[in-house]
Amino acid sequence: MKYFHRWIQFKHIRTRFTVVILTVVILLQIAGLVPLKFSLIHHSNKIAENQLEVGERVYENLLRQNAAGYQQAATVLAADYAFREAVATGDVKTIESALVSYQDRIHAEIAYYVGEDGATVVHTANTKEAARKVDLAKVSAQYNAGTLRFDIIDGKPYQLISVPVKAPIVIGWIVLGFQMDQTVASQIKQLTNLDVTFVQSTEPKNWQMVGGTLSAQAALALINALPVLLTEQQSIQQMQSQDDAFHLKLKTLYQGNDGEQLVVVLQESVTKFVQELNTLFLTMIMLTFIGIMFLAALIWYTTKKMVQPISELADNVSQMTKGDYSHQIHIERSDELGQLGTMFNDMREAIQQRTLRIHRLAFNDELTGLSNRLSFMQGVHKAIDAHASMHEKFSIIVFNIHRFKPINNLLGRDFGDDLLRHLGQVLKENVFSPSDIVARLDADEFAVLLQHAGEAKAKAYVTDIVNILNQPVFVQDQTIDVRTAIGVTIYPDHGLGEESLLNHAETAKQESKIKKSEYVIYHRELEVDQSETLTMITDLKEAIAHNQLLLFVQPKIEIATRKALGGEALIRWLHPTKGMVFPDQFIPFAEQTGVISDITNWMLQRACHVLADYKKRGVSITIAVNLSTRDLNNYQLPEQLAVLLAQHGLSTHALKLEITEGSLMQDPERAQTVVRKLADMGFHLAIDDFGTGYSSLAYLRQLPVQELKIDRSFVMFMDKNSGDASIVKSTIDLAHNLGLRVVAEGIENAGVLTQLAMLGCDEGQGYFIGKPLSEKDFDHWLTTWEGSIEVATGTGTAKQSTFDKTGAKGYHPSSATLS
C-alpha cells in the first residue's frame, strides 16, 4: 500500500475516492464475471449435453415409433388366415406374393419370412441378401425384448422389425426392413433440432455417410474425425471443423463381426451457444460498464458534495492567507463538515479580530485611535505615489503641544490623555476628506496629511485649528490653554520622499515653536547653513573679544513684599552689521560648538562687575546667571567662580546660578559633582524653566538646589485657565514641601501677581514687573519700582548693555502676546 501511494499522488480527494472505489468495484466485477463466464460455459455445455441427450431419446423414440407402426402393419399380415394357411402348408409362392404386396403397401425395403425351424425362408425379389443373413435367434430375441435392430444389408443400413406368425403358436417370422436414410435423419432433425448423420463402414475404417442433415463440408469433417471420436469414451464429444465447433453424441446402432458398423451421430453447433453466451456476456459487461459509469458519476457527485466544503474551506484559507477575512463560509450541513465550517467561521472571525487588533496596535495609536507613525508614513508613501502620478500637491502638517509634560505630570496622566484625545478629535474633525490622515506620531506630537491640498488649503486648515485652540480647552472640568507649534510641508515643493517631508515639517514646527508663531510653512532658509554657522561662531568669538555683547537684566521681586530683589542676567549681541541679535539665533550654536563657555564666562564676569558696582554703592541685590550643560560638565567651574568672586570682592550669595533640567541630564554624574561643589561653596542654585523638562520633583530633591523657577508658559494665563493655575499651585505646594523657594516667570498682569501671592509663590519676574533691561535701565528700575531699594547715585554703573538669558524666553517684545 505505501508504494501504491508513492506511485499515485492524488491531487484531489474526489479522484482518490473515485479511483479507489471504482478499482474495488471493477475488481469485484471481474471477480464475479470471470467465474460467471466459466459457469456459463459449463452451463452451456450442460445444456448442449442435455439437448443431445434429449435428442438421443427423441430419435430413439422416433425409430421405436416407426418400428411400432411397421410392426402393427406386419402383424396384420401375420394374422391373416390365408397367409397363415399358406405358411402352414408351405405354399412358398403364395407367401412370396403376399410379402411383395405388403412390402409395396408399407414401403418397406426389405420383407421376408422365416420359419420357426429356420429352414424355411421366403423372400421378395430384392431381399435375397437380407434373407441370406437371417438369424432366427436375433429375430425372436429382438421381438421378445422389444429392442430396435439394425443391420447393414447389401451395403445399406436398415432398421429391422419382425413379427411372429402364429398358428396359433409361433410357426415363423415376418421380417421387414426400412432403410436409414436422409428421410429418417430429417425427421429426427425436425423433432430435435439436432443434426443427424448416419455413417457406416462395410469394411474396417472405411466410413461413409449414408444419410444425414449436415452440409457436405460438415459431413466430410465428421467422417474424417470419426475414427478418433469412436475411440473416445465420453458420452458427449466435441469436434472442431473449419468454421464451426460441435458437440456430438455417437451411438453405434449395429456392429457386425466383419467390421461392419452403423453409427448415428447427433450433433449440435456450438457456435450458436457460443454466440448466445457471448451475447449474454457482452450484455453483462455492458450492464457492468453502465453500472460502473453510473457509480462513478454517483461517487463523483457525492464526493463533490462531500469535498466541496473542504474546497471552500481551502479557498477561504487561501484568502485568509492573503489577509482577506471578509468571506463568510457557507456550509449548509449538519454533519462534521458543517461543524468544521462553523468552527472555521469562528476561527476566521477570531483571527480577523486579532488581526484587526494587531493592525490597530501596529498602525493605530491606542490612546487616540488615530494612525501611528508607521501607518502615517505608509499613508504618506501611498499619497506620494498617488499624487505623483496626478501631478497634484498634498500637505503634511505637524502639531506639537507646548509644555505637555508638566501638564501630564501635574494634572495627571488621565488628564494628559484626555487632552491628547481632544486634540486628536479636533484635528480629525476638521480635515477635508475621509482619506486625509490624522496620526499621533509621538507623545504630544500629531501629524495630518491633507490629500490634494496645496498651501492655501493647508493654511485654511491650520488657521481653523489655531482658531479653535485659541479658545481655552475644557478637559475634565478644567479649562486649559493649549498652545501648539505647527509645521507645514507641501508635496512636492518641500520634499519628494516621506522622510524628507516629515523631517522638514518637523523643522518647520521647530521654527514655529522657537518663534512662537502660529505656524511655519517650510522653506529652505530654515535649514541652517553650516558655513553660516561657522561664520556665526567666528563672529561670536570676535564679539566676545571685542565686547559686542551686552548684559540685560530682567527684574525680580519678592512677591509678598514686592521688594526688588535683583534680576536675571540675559545676553544680547550687538552685531556690527546685523544690529541687535537675539540669543536664540546664536546660543544653540554656541552650545553646540562650546563657545557657550566663553559666553557664560563673559556673563559671569559682567554680572560680577555689576554686582561689585552695586556693592560699592551699598545696594544688595542678586543677579542670576544661567549655566549651560558645558559649564556644568566643567570641573574647573567652581574654582574659576571662586577666583572671580574673589577678584570682585563678592560673596557667593550675590550670584545665583540657574540650571535647566536638561543640562543636568547629559552627564548626570559629572554635572551633579559640579553642582554639589558649587552648593558646598555656598552658591544659590535654581532650576530654570521647571515644567518643560522631563525630570521629576523626586529627582530634583536629590539635587542641592534651593529654588524652582516655574516656566512662564504656565504662569502667563493662569488667571484665565484653571488648569494652568492648578499646575502652578501644585508646583508651588510641592516645591515648598521640598523646602524650595519658588520663582514664577512670565507675570504679565496684576491678577496673576495677586494670584501668585495668594498661592504663596516666593518670587516673581515678568513684563508686569519689568522686561529685560539694559544695565542702565535696570538701575533706573531699581530706583523707580514701588518696592525700590535705596540706590546710591549712578556712579560706576556699568555702561548700558543688553542681555537676555539663554533658552530664548521673553526676549522679544511681541512675545508678550504669544505663548
Binding site: 394374422a79 388366415y81 397363415r84 394357411e85 405358411v87 402352414a88 402348408t89 429356420g118 402364429k166 398358428a167 396359433p168 403358436i169 410357426i171
Partner: protein, 195 residues
C-alpha cells in the same frame, strides 16, 4: 429350435428282480424340468411293439368353454374321432394347420356337424381364428399306452414286461421326443428330466 431331451432312466434293483417273474408291470414316470421341478400335463406314451394299432372306434371331446379349449392338452390314439362342442355363446372357428391333421370348423355354435378323425400320429395345434388366445394341443399317438402327468409331474402306466420304448414331451411342443428304449421287468420308476 430342435429339442432333444435326454432321458435318464433309473431302475432300482428290486424292480428289476421282480420283473423277471411277471407279465405286466407298473411304470411310474416322474417328469421334471431342468431345474428339477415337476412338470404337469406332460405327455407320456409307451410303445411295446405288440399292441399294434387296430381299428379304433374311440371318440374324444374337446370343449370350447370360456374361450378356452378344455382340455387344452389331449392325448388320443391314432384313429380317434374328436368332437368339438361349443359351450360358449359366441361362435368359434377352430382350425389346425398341423401336418398331422389339417382341418377347419367354420363358424359354428353347439356341436360341429362331424367329429374330426385323427388318423395320423403327430401333434396337432388347435387355434381359433376369431380368438387368438385360444391354444390347444392334441397328441395323436400310435399306442394305447399313454398318460398325462399329474400336478406332481408323475404318471403311471401298466405296461407289459419286456423291451419297450417311451416318449415324453411337455405340453405345447409340436415335435415328438425321440423314443427311449427300456426293458420292463417289473414295477419301476422312470425319471425323466426335461431339458
Amino acid at each position: 429350435m430342435k429339442q432333444r431331451p435326454a432321458h435318464s432312466i433309473v431302475l432300482t434293483l428290486p424292480f428289476l428282480v421282480a420283473a423277471c417273474f411277471v407279465h405286466a408291470a407298473e411304470l411310474t414316470f416322474t417328469v421334471t424340468d431342468a431345474s428339477g421341478k415337476p412338470v404337469p400335463q406332460a405327455v407320456v406314451a409307451v410303445f411295446d411293439g405288440k399292441s399294434a394299432p387296430t381299428t379304433n372306434t374311440a371318440t374324444g371331446k374337446i370343449i370350447q368353454k370360456n374361450r378356452q379349449f378344455n382340455p387344452d392338452v389331449t392325448v388320443i390314439q391314432t384313429g380317434t374321432a374328436v368332437n368339438f362342442p361349443n359351450e360358449d355363446t359366441v361362435r368359434h372357428h377352430v382350425y389346425s394347420f398341423s401336418p398331422a391333421k389339417k382341418f377347419e370348423l367354420k363358424l359354428y355354435t353347439g356341436v360341429a356337424t362331424n367329429p374330426i378323425v385323427f388318423d395320423k400320429a403327430g401333434v396337432v395345434s388347435l387355434g381359433c381364428n376369431i380368438h387368438d388366445s385360444m391354444v390347444g394341443f392334441i397328441y395323436v399317438v400310435d399306442t394305447p399306452l399313454f398318460a398325462k402327468t399329474d400336478a406332481n409331474g408323475s404318471a403311471t402306466l401298466s405296461v407289459p414286461a419286456g423291451a419297450v420304448s417311451y416318449q415324453v414331451w411337455p405340453a405345447g411342443k409340436l415335435k415328438f421326443a425321440l423314443e427311449q428304449k427300456i426293458k420292463v421287468e417289473g414295477n419301476a420308476t422312470v425319471k425323466v428330466a426335461l431339458p
